[in-house]
Amino acid sequence: MTMTNLFTIILLLAGCFFFLGGTLGLLRFPDLFSRLHALTKVDNIGLGLIAAGMAIHIGSPWAALKIFLIWLSTLLASSTACYLVAKFQLGRPSESPEVPAK
Amino acid sequence: METYQIYSLASAVIFAVGLAGIFTTRLFFKKIIATKIMGGGVFLCFVSFAERDALAFADPVPHAMVITGIVVAVSAAAFALALARRIQQLTGQETFPVEEE
């Protein structure tokens, strides 16, 4: 086991932990706003950790640059998404089902 | 069991599921989605056989046909959706008329 492999394994495991946290938050939190909070923050840390781990494993600068750009624009995209969805939901009843009960 | 076998079996099942969906739902919208699912099954079948015939690279002909197919299927789905929406706007119907038994 080399040093880089060790780093990769640690980073990937940490990333998996954060992904699990995000999913549990999505499932367990009571309303949309807290779910947004769990999803768009925790998952991005998970993605960042996994991306860093794989960038170390692949070891090519071009791929590492690409992976970094992927992560950067995911950060941007999901914070935008978080803001937009939260603003959309603001002022609406938070638990209104989309179809009338039959 | 090889990789392509798993996916080609799944493709047959997915196609059958889509087929059943077309017949069991009356909603236009769901019928359209069911055809998309059938299409997914067909594409999966093609790509899995491309993987089986791989030499240095996977067989490019099915890949090219699937890419063409994806774009054509989306065009057809867009047209079908527009028709369904138009019918819904003009008549309020979302299903084919039900015949009384």
Binding site: L20, L32, R35, I70, T74, A77 | -
Partner: protein
Amino acid sequence: MNGFFIGVCLFLLLNICLGLLRVWRGPTVADRLLTTQLFGTTGMAILIVLAGYLGELTLLNVAITFNVLAVLLVICFVQVWKPGKKGGKA
């Protein structure tokens, strides 16, 4: 090392499966929309891991495509569903 990557992929896939419960439960369309974000992020992570594991760096381009389009759904949803008075929950 390969076994470890496969394990990570499997774990992330199972994560997606768990997230599907939220699509089912809803209760609002916005909640269901959130799961597309989860799929987007998790899918990207799977693709990045697969790229390293299979040595197929072109898979990164798939991840890039995912990523630039994930936000499109949200923007469309917010813009299209806004004008109606009851659009959000009707």
